[in-house]
């Protein structure tokens, strides 16, 4: 712990040092822009930097880069580096950091923001006409400035991402982040944002009135994104809250839904689900047992085997989920998933009307089935102890191709290996023992979902 704290302080010092060093170079070789265009740009960048929202499980690359590059183009080659460098110096100190007395993270942010902003401005410089040739920008100058800004934006993101990854490794001691995997997806958006920023900055030279309008538009967009992400949080919070109420009925499956949602997400990530698709998968997992609310509590908690009548009653909940959810437009694809989680890969087994007999269910449904069964096996139920992870994975593999989709089972194995997590009972390493514990179970399906 002590060593980690020291590493963090060292890291903060290093980043701040590099940032200030780069800024010093800019200060010695360039001059500061006049206050009039500088101050409004500084305010806008700080505002954008202070408000970042998470959208669909991934942070959109912040539009502040657009404002920074617009500022750099507007300042001109002689003052750009120092101008944006000082702006970047102000941006990382958010009010929330002051309130919670955080020091290390803002300092690290400061270092990387200043470094990447100044470096980006240096990259941009050769593309801009000299400061005294401002009065007559041509279309060619526009194109050059915008292209230069696109390139600078790429450099900015590369520097930023590299230093963020280093910082995350040191601070959180997390080894399994893949440093450059996100760069690929960021390239188009950073080119676009840079290009737009360059154009906006160039426009400043011919019609300064345009600037407040562009930033006004960006701020409105941000307000919109803010209310969107608040609504999404409210939605997910409501779902989770109701699931909690559902699980209060059954001590033995407490946390089941959250775990299934987690496993589904793990598998989904391995199978390259992103953004809305991944979110939808998680919601489907959260909602997959809502039908249980409509099942008499004694049935859920019953020890021992269910008789035929009880089993039928239980199966009915797959259809009840549909009755409830089918009226909801957006849930319809999920309803198929939720009611499909008891259906088998080879097309037999009970499922809702969303799934036709003889046809393999959708991949989302397959993911839910695997996540559900894996958690059912690795957690303690009213009728048996938890099995080991090894046994559970083996069981999934042996039924893969019939009950479970092979690629989904593989994805789960890969996901668990990637995170290095282990589930299930740690004490029973021998498969024989596990098999003995599992005795009396007719296949994996009998876990009552």
């Amino acid at each position: 712990m002590k060593a980690q704290t020291r590493a963090r302080v060292l890291l903060a010092a290093l980043y701040t040092g590099v940032g200030l060093g780069v800024l010093l170079i800019a200060a010695l070789t360039r001059s500061f822009p006049p206050l009039m265009p500088w101050l409004p740009f500084a305010l806008v960048v700080v505002y954008l930097e202070w408000r970042s929202f998470e959208i669909n499980d991934h942070l959109i690359s912040s539009p502040s880069i657009m404002a920074i590059l617009a500022a750099a183009v507007a300042f001109g080659p002689e003052t750009a580096a120092l101008g944006v460098g000082v702006i970047a110096l102000l941006a990382p100190f958010r009010p929330v950091d002051f309130r919670e007395r955080r020091v290390v993270v803002p300092l690290v942010n400061l270092g990387q923001l200043v470094t990447s902003a100044v470096v980006a401005a240096f990259v941009l410089e050769p593309f801009l006409p000299a400061n005294d040739e401002w009065s007559n920008w041509t279309v060619r100058d526009f194109g050059l400035a915008a292209s230069g800004a696109a390139l600078a934006s790429l450099v900015y993101n590369a520097v930023n991402l590299g230093s963020v990854n280093l910082a995350v490794r040191v601070i959180y001691q997390q080894r399994n982040i893949r440093p450059w995997s996100r760069m690929g997806s960021m390239v188009p958006s950073s080119i676009l944002l840079g290009f737009m920023g360059g154009l906006v900055g160039a426009t400043y030279h011919v019609e300064p009135n345009v600037l407040p309008l562009v930033f006004g538009l960006l701020v409105v967009g941000y307000v919109g994104i803010g209310s969107y992400s608040k609504l999404r949080d409210a939605h997910e919070g409501t779902l989770r809250g109701f699931i909690k109420a559902l699980e209060a009925k059954d001590l033995y499956t407490r946390g089941h839904t959250e775990r299934v949602a987690y496993f589904a997400q793990l598998i989904g990530e391995e199978l390259n689900y992103r953004g809305t698709a991944l979110e939808r998968l998680r919601w489907a997992a959260l909602i997959h047992d809502v039908g249980k609310l409509a099942v008499p509590g004694e049935l859920i908690r019953k020890r021992g085997r269910l008789d035929d009548r009880e089993y039928e009653e239980l199966q009915r909940h797959a259809h009840m989920v549909e009755d409830i959810l089918a009226e909801v437009e957006f849930l319809r694809p999920m309803v198929q998933i939720a009611s499909g989680h008891h259906s088998r890969y080879d097309g037999t087994g009970y499922g809702g009307t969303g799934h036709t007999a003889g046809e393999p269910p959708s991949q989302e449904a397959c993911i839910l089935a695997v996540a559900d069964s894996f958690d059912a096996m690795t957690s303690t139920r009213s009728y048996r102890m938890a099995l080991t992870q090894h046994y559970a994975l083996q069981e999934l593999r042996s039924h893969s191709g019939t009950q479970f989709a092979p690629e989904v089972v593989d994805a789960l194995v890969r996901g668990l290996a990637r995170t290095g997590e282990r589930y299930g009972s740690p004490s029973m390493d021998s498969d024989v023992l596990a098999r003995m514990v599992a005795e009396g179970r007719a296949g994996v399906e009998a876990h009552h979902g």
Binding site: V206, N209, L213, G221, R232, P296, I324
Partner: protein, 409 residues
């Protein structure tokens, strides 16, 4: 759908004749080329086909943005060429109206929107022209003139929308006004993108689009997603509140009907859109505590209405954003006033609305009463079981046929 009177049918015809008249009067005055006028009018008409969803459920058309740009583009630093601008407006709005009619949407909406928008745009151009002429020579003058004129248009448009909706849907004016002004981010983004295009047009030409459209697209995506998330959320609440009904623990459709009645009463009593949302969610979920009746030992031990309200409120309070709703569900079964006691000042109006709405549906669909008999039940309970003001509102809502009171079976 309200019946369309002869007057309503005459209005758009008179308006169209007016537009044609303005077009020919203006075209004689202006020396701006007919080609330019037709280009802008076409853009304006087509812009009307693209719509941005706003918070209130309104969809504001992109024609706003085009109309904002026109006086800035068609004119010079001294102000707009008003005659040419009116040519563009009259031709563009007329064309847009014809296109929308061909598109076959609700005719009444299209007519009133066309009348409202063309009047508002005319007012905007007039204000912008006067202001920018008076602020001539000052560098940010055009920007300030635009901002003030846009505010004038915004107030006119929202006020006019609230007034026309008031005449048709009979919702309270304050409710409609707040609803309309909640849409400011969308209106704001449309005004700004129009002004942006207008101001940079002379310097940038078509490059303007590259500067103006990406930030607008960003805002548009945000609005689109917000609208989607709102309907998603509403539908989820609806689905969850149906659980006790599907399980047979609560009458089928009771939550839907109670919510419809409660929302109508809330609007009748002039609640704000925000309060109405809470009333809607709480009335949908007022019986959610009945899920607990699934436990046989609870049925054996016995329970009261208060228990159900408590259980329901406990379930809802697990959702972090619904604490208002949980509080309403906790209180909604309280009577207005117990005999011999003062009324409890802590029970909010929303809770009383839910109680009355639920009881009204119970009387019709469980007791088999006619709407008139159900109203009689409410009147007998007024001042003890139910808030007299709420009972009065139930009566108005039923008399005007604002909700469906036909029994289900």
């Amino acid at each position: 759908m309200a019946e369309i009177s002869a007057r309503d049918q005459l209005q758009p015809v008179l308006w169209a004749i007016g537009m044609v008249a303005i077009f020919f009067m203006s075209i004689g005055v202006t020396d701006y080329g007919i080609g330019g006028i037709l280009v802008w009018a076409t853009i304006l008409a087509i812009g009307g086909l693209f719509e941005v969803p706003a918070k209130s459920g309104n969809r504001l058309s992109f024609a706003f943005a085009v109309a904002v740009a026109v006086p800035v583009v068609v004119g010079d630093s001294r102000g707009a060429d008003l005659a040419a601008v009116y040519c563009v407006y009259s031709a563009g709005y007329l064309g847009g109206w014809v296109l929308a009619r061909i598109g076959g949407k609700d005719g009444h909406d299209i007519d009133s929107a066309a009348i409202r928008n063309s009047l508002g745009a005319g007012l905007y151009a007039f204000t912008f022209d006067g202001l920018s002429a008076s602020m001539q020579g000052w560098e940010p003058g055009p920007l300030v003139a635009f901002a003030l004129a846009a505010v004038v248009w915004f107030v006119f448009e929202m006020g006019a929308w609230a007034l026309t909706s008031y005449g048709r849907d009979r919702l309270s004016l304050s409710y409609l006004a707040i609803l309309a002004f909640d849409d400011w981010p969308v209106s704001f983004s449309l005004y700004i993108v129009g002004a942006l295009a207008g101001f940079s047009w002379s310097a940038l030409g078509w490059w303007t689009l590259l500067v103006a459209l990406p930030p607008f697209a960003f805002a548009y995506i945000a609005f689109q997603r917000t609208a989607e998330a709102q309907s998603t959320y509403d539908q989820t609440i609806r689905a969850l509140s149906r659980i006790p009904e599907v399980a047979g623990l609560s009458p089928d459709g009771h939550s839907d009907r109670t919510a419809a009645m409660a929302v109508a009463i809330g609007q009748e009593l002039g609640m704000t859109p925000h309060e109405i949302q809470d009333v809607e969610y709480a009335s949908r979920m007022h019986d959610i505590g009945r899920i607990t009746l699934n436990e046989p030992n609870i049925l054996k031990a016995g329970f009261s209405e208060d228990d159900i309200a408590r259980w329901g409120s406990e379930i809802i309070s697990e959702a972090p954003y619904l604490s208002n709703v949980a509080a309403l569900v906790r209180l909604q079964h309280q009577p207005y006033r117990r005999p011999g006691e003062q009324k409890d000042p802590n029970v909010p109006l929303a809770a009383k609305i839910i109680r009355a709405s639920s009881a009204f549906d119970h009387a019709i669909n469980e007791m088999g009463f006619s709407p008139l008999e159900a109203l009689e039940v409410m009147h007998r309970g007024a001042a003890y079981d139910y808030d007299p003001d709420v009972v009065e509102a139930v009566r108005t809502v039923v008399d005007l046929g604002l909700v469906n009171t036909a029994p289900v079976r």
